[in-house]
Symmetry: none
Subunit: 198 residues, 4 copies
DNA sequence: GATGAATGAGTGTTCATTCAT
DNA sequence: AATGAATGAACACTCATTCAT
């Protein structure tokens, strides 16, 4: 198991350094200081390790409570805005922290349908939570009732994740705080949520 | 020049069929019914033809008036909403028509930084036009003055293009009209534009 | 010793299932439910186990009296024909029973000279007995005196074993009884042995 | 086409030298003095070249008239024996000349079912011709009427080819003339053909 | 005697690019 | 300008064997 862990760690470094396509099994094995063949004791292919790397990332995020978009428990309007902002900040910070890997994942998804699925499942969590939140807001009369919660959640998640990709993976410059602020404004506006100090 | 045109046409078909990475020069030459070596009389590499294919697409769009997001000339509120809807419809229809190529371009951009730039320039047109429109609306008191026009334009373009990619290139199901309707609502809401029958 | 026996049994199954070349040591160990390394406590290589498997087969045949071509003790002509038929039947039945292993052995012999020798030694028994029988028949005036007993024995054995291989290992269809009958007629004819009811 | 021919010639040398299994594509290309990749311009795999080598051998045999077992046109008894002897001699001389290749083919057939078929088709020619001859002899009352011509032909061909393999490919020593003489005697006896000077 | 993870050498195949004709 | 055969570098994967526990 120790060897396997070492390989996952090494693989993550190599994928971040070289991207998904240019990552070579030999390099991963070398980075983990094991023989090439040992790689195949634990993984069957490059796709296989990459899936393991992503799975570990997912676990780390769960343990770090990152996926938790903040508690939306109390009903004050001021907090609604704050809730959206916190969720966006958490998402963006996590993206920034794992930018190299996210870039590799985009590449993997562009090349291997298997990772399109993985990416979809990853975003599903956020989309589902957002859709639920939107529906709740609509029922409380706090969000535009004409919107389909599921589709709106998809669209707004697409907006945030694509902006994160452009900013952190591609390096299009945007100050972090401006990013959060804009995203949060657009998100709350888009749902026609009432402004804080309305 | 006829050979060159034939190669571009052939390349487009191959890129649509096989994607950017799996497209082979021999196949492009065969599809164009010329010898492999003739390819290199007109293009220096796969990147080179792909750029030519994208350039031709761009030209076709300009001639088809597709890039023209509708004239936003008159000041009636009703037309504002209509203007956004028309622009989105035009974008989405164009994306749907060229879905195979757009998928190839996403793949190319994931693999080759050169095409990240191309993609960026392509979207630049739409972003700039949107940013200008937003600024104009703000000056007329018809859009949220707190938004940075440039960043908001980027974000909303990201939203639309990503949704288009998911729907037409990846095949995540969404009825076309629902898509346009949702996108337009979110877009106008996000800017806090007044509703039609306000 | 129990482990060793288990490995030989397992190896036989694997060789029958996968052939000599495709048989893998790990599979043999797994089939015997021992660790891979344990294999090497008892055998030094794949060739080594395969030799052991063949040796055990040889022992089983001896104990089953299979190698015993029938007793050619009495001098009646009728029995001569019967003796040849019995020997052929015994040989062919044994081949049919062990067809999988024989196929593996042919493969091994095609690939490793060591098993050409083993195969030769295996057939030696039959050839020598046949040669002796031919010589005896010649001395009794019951077989063509112009034939070299040794070479004739080789040739006729080759005929029978090759037919057995084609029928049972390769699956070229031939009814068992037709096979025995033809082989016996050809064998007795070839030696110019007098017909039963001469 | 010149390159292809060179590759077939080179392949034949390599297959004879190293056998089917140990033959490496790089070696074949090097022997033909072309780049490794050029091999794949003409052949898709090792099996593919080997099939080409065997096909060329087949052609050469046909042109050399080797497959022609002598004309069995006149009805003299003396010539019957001679006809069988000539056919056997031709077969055995051809086998001796191509012993290295035949050894490789046995190996190929032991490893790849595709070549079991090829070998079968190769022998089919001889078997069919023999079967026809046997049937003719039976009709003229010159061969044992109890034998099935097809099966007898198979059996006697198996005998000759297996003896050829043992002698020329495996090097079990037997003088060439003794071999022909024995084989011919056994063959004519087996069919109960009348002796020359009966 | 048993374990089983680690070792690492070895090779078929692809395809963008060249260049003599 | 066209031809198309030739080039050759690059890399994943297998599996018999070892050896520290």
């Amino acid at each position: 198991m120790r060897t396997r862990d070492g390989l996952v760690t090494a693989a993550r470094r190599i994928f971040e350094r070289d991207g998904y396509l240019d990552a070579r099994i030999v390099d991963i094995a070398a980075e983990a200081k094991v023989a090439t063949g040992s790689f195949y004791t634990h993984f069957s292919s490059k796709e296989d390790v990459f899936a393991a790397v992503l799975a570990r990332l997912h676990d780390e995020m769960l343990h770090a409570g990152v996926s938790d978009g903040g508690d939306e428990s109390d009903g004050e309007r001021k907090d609604l805005w704050r809730g959206v902002e916190d969720a966006n900040r958490a998402y963006l910070e996590s993206y920034r922290r794992n930018a190299g890997l996210m870039a590799a994942m985009e590449q993997a998804a562009a090349v291997d349908p298997q990772f399109v699925r993985v990416r979809l499942e990853r975003s599903r969590v956020f989309i589902d939570r957002s859709a639920a939140a939107i529906a709740r807001l609509q029922q409380s009369g706090l969000a535009d009732p004409e919107l389909d919660p599921e589709i709106a959640a998809r669209a707004l998640s697409a907006m945030v994740s694509r902006l994160a990709y452009a900013t952190f993976a591609l390096g299009e410059s945007l100050p972090f705080d401006t990013l959060i602020d804009t995203v949060t404004k657009l998100w709350t506006n888009a749902l026609r949520m009432p402004r804080d100090r309305a």
